[in-house]
């Protein structure tokens, strides 16, 4: 069987990314151009600015990915691109570029679900990982607990009914003055705090045990901060960060445990930007050890939004015979 080489393009939020991956597992290049510095000025991602930055960077990023991979367009087998979920303006840039690039090179073109991309990062990290397995996808925009039935085939067990876990990190970080992006800043502050100093609630969603809710937790943190301020007490932001992080990690771990118990699978993976959070990795790893389940997690560079995960997902869709039409549109609320 000859090798299948796929160019993956990702632009659903604030990273312009492109990568070349062979057979869904071997990364030849993985270029990421982040916009974090500019969005930091605004305390979060501004969709119009993000869209414009993607337009400015996309050609260079794709060019770098091809050069780094030491390959040319005529050696590619297909182009894969994220078409949702995400911010519509940013998505449209990647989708429009990928379509035109594939068309002019007479290559097949495949639209990829961003969440499927995150999950597929695990195929890159662990060359032997095969479905079925359970996967917890946690990022700035998504919180999903998924049963991976086969390559590219998923059953969503639960999702957030309000804020994504990463979104809660961003909002709490802003509230305690740590700024954007919240995930890494909270994690850092939490290292110097006491996670048991403040008791924040772990929300459960009635009738949907696998669904998540983080807006209640976020409100509890904001209420706590208000109370302390009104009482004239100086807030220990490290303790708030540590206690908040513990509550999020606790909720995610509880759900993971429930799924492992119910479905009796022997493999559990995490994915998405928040999957590079050390506390979450440690907690899920400990859970897996306790349950005798093998634990999988991508390297941090594959957890953040990147093109390699899209190319990996693209490979399995390519093998499944999936092809997208030139009329493919961006779908900001695309379901997995």
């Amino acid at each position: 069987m000859s090798d299948i080489k796929i160019l993956g393009i990702e632009s659903s939020c604030d990273e312009t990314a492109a990568a070349v991956v062979v057979n869904g597992r071997e990364v030849l290049s993985n270029e990421i151009s982040t916009q974090i510095p500019i969005h930091t000025l605004y305390g979060g991602v501004v969709p119009e600015i993000a869209s414009r930055k993607h337009v400015e960077r996309i050609t260079q990023v794709v060019d770098l990915a091809l050069k780094q991979a030491g390959t040319t367009a005529d050696e590619l087998d297909a182009v894969a691109v994220t078409y949702g979920p995400g911010l519509v303006g940013p998505l449209l840039v990647g989708v429009s570029f990928a379509k035109a690039f594939a068309y002019a090179n007479d290559l097949p073109f495949i639209g990829i679900n961003h969440i499927s991309g995150h999950i597929s990062a695990n195929y890159i990290e662990d060359k032997d990982l095969k479905p079925p397995f359970l996967c917890l996808v946690v990022s700035g925009g998504h919180t999903h607990l998924v049963r991976v039935i086969d390559y590219g085939r998923y059953e969503v067990l639960g999702r957030t009914v309000d804020d994504a876990a990463g979104e809660a990190f961003d909002k709490v970080a802003r509230a305690i003055g740590l700024g954007y992006p919240g995930g890494p800043k909270i994690e850092k502050a939490a290292k110097d705090g006491d996670p048991d100093s403040i008791e924040f609630p772990r929300a459960k969603v009635a009738d949907h045990p696998y669904d998540f809710s983080f807006s209640g937790l976020k409100s509890a943190v904001l209420n706590y901060l208000n109370h302390q301020r009104m009482a004239g007490v100086t807030v220990n932001t490290n303790n708030v960060a540590a206690s908040f992080q513990k509550a999020v990690v606790g909720a995610l771990t509880d759900h993971a445990e429930m799924a492992i118990d119910q479905f009796g699978m022997d493999k559990f993976a995490i994915a998405g930007g928040v999957a590079s959070n050390g506390a979450l990795r440690a907690s899920i790893e400990a859970l897996c050890q306790r349950k005798g389940v093998k634990f999988y997690r991508p390297a941090p560079i594959l957890c953040t939004d990147n093109g390699a995960m899209i190319a990996a997902a693209g490979y399995f869709e390519f093998e499944n015979g999936v092809r997208s039409g030139l009329n493919l549109n961006a779908e900001p609320s695309l379901a997995l």
Binding site: H54, S96, Y103, G325, A330
Partner: protein, 240 residues
């Protein structure tokens, strides 16, 4: 020289292939459908109908802006993908200039109006002189319709309005324009990719073109967040 023209700056989506003095084919629609679902299929059908190889295209001319932010970035990303893959230059044509160029040879003032929301139009003022040279009397920019009409009345010259801003501002024009005016007919009153390609060819001959990497849409307006941030900083500066 074979130029591919693209315009997705407004409600119109348009693609055309122009060989020197021959328009080989053009596909133009003005129908409420997202350009991301129409532009590439239109281009594909056009290329297939003409039976040409896309690799014979020498340059892409595109309506670079102003226009709908979404339309501009769909067009820009498409043009970049094509030009990068084909290794050909991008010719950035100002949208309003291209709309005016539809009226080649007219002896009247030409005033395109693109609806820019907030009671403004992206507009400019153009004329063809005695030798049919295209004169930009006023460069494209977003402007209040009152100011556009005031300038036209002062010019005391007959004028033709065109563009998707005409239906939006027709009543205001009828009530306030004091010079002889008319509205251009349907075949030439909106964006057309063949016009973009023809005007683009003139730019190309003057070596006014760029690369897929360097090409940027001409938004003419900042994002709301940038505007608000600058106002805030300015206020803070004044109070300091």
């Amino acid at each position: 020289m074979r130029i591919l023209g693209i315009d997705s700056s407004g409600l119109v989506a348009s693609a055309a292939v122009v060989d020197d003095d021959t328009l080989l084919g053009e596909f133009t629609t003005d129908y409420k459908k997202t350009h991301s679902t129409t532009l590439m299929p239109m281009l594909d059908q056009l290329i297939k109908m003409l039976g040409i190889d896309i690799r014979t295209i020498d340059a892409v001319a595109t309506a670079a802006g102003p226009g709908s932010f979404t339309g501009l970035r769909i067009g820009a990303a498409t043009v970049k993908g094509l030009a990068y893959a084909l290794g050909i230059p991008v010719i950035a044509v100002p949208t309003v200039d291209a709309i005016a160029y539809n009226l080649y040879g007219s002896k009247r003032l030409i005033c395109p109006l693109m609806d820019a929301r907030r009671k403004q139009a992206y507009s400019g003022l153009y004329k063809f002189n005695e030798t049919n040279e295209f004169i930009v009397k006023k460069e494209q920019e977003p402007e209040a319709i009152e100011d556009i009409v005031k300038r036209i009345n002062l010019s005391d010259e007959p004028v033709t309005f065109l563009g998707d801003g005409v239906p939006v501002f027709a009543d205001y024009i009828k009530q306030n324009v004091t010079v002889d005016y008319d509205f251009a007919p349907a075949f030439c009153n909106r964006q057309r990719a063949s016009t973009v390609a023809c005007l683009g060819r003139k730019y190309f001959d003057r070596e006014f073109y760029t690369s897929a990497e360097e090409f940027r849409p001409i938004y003419l307006r900042q994002s709301q967040a940038e505007r608000e941030r600058e106002e805030k900083l300015k206020k803070a500066g004044n109070n300091a």
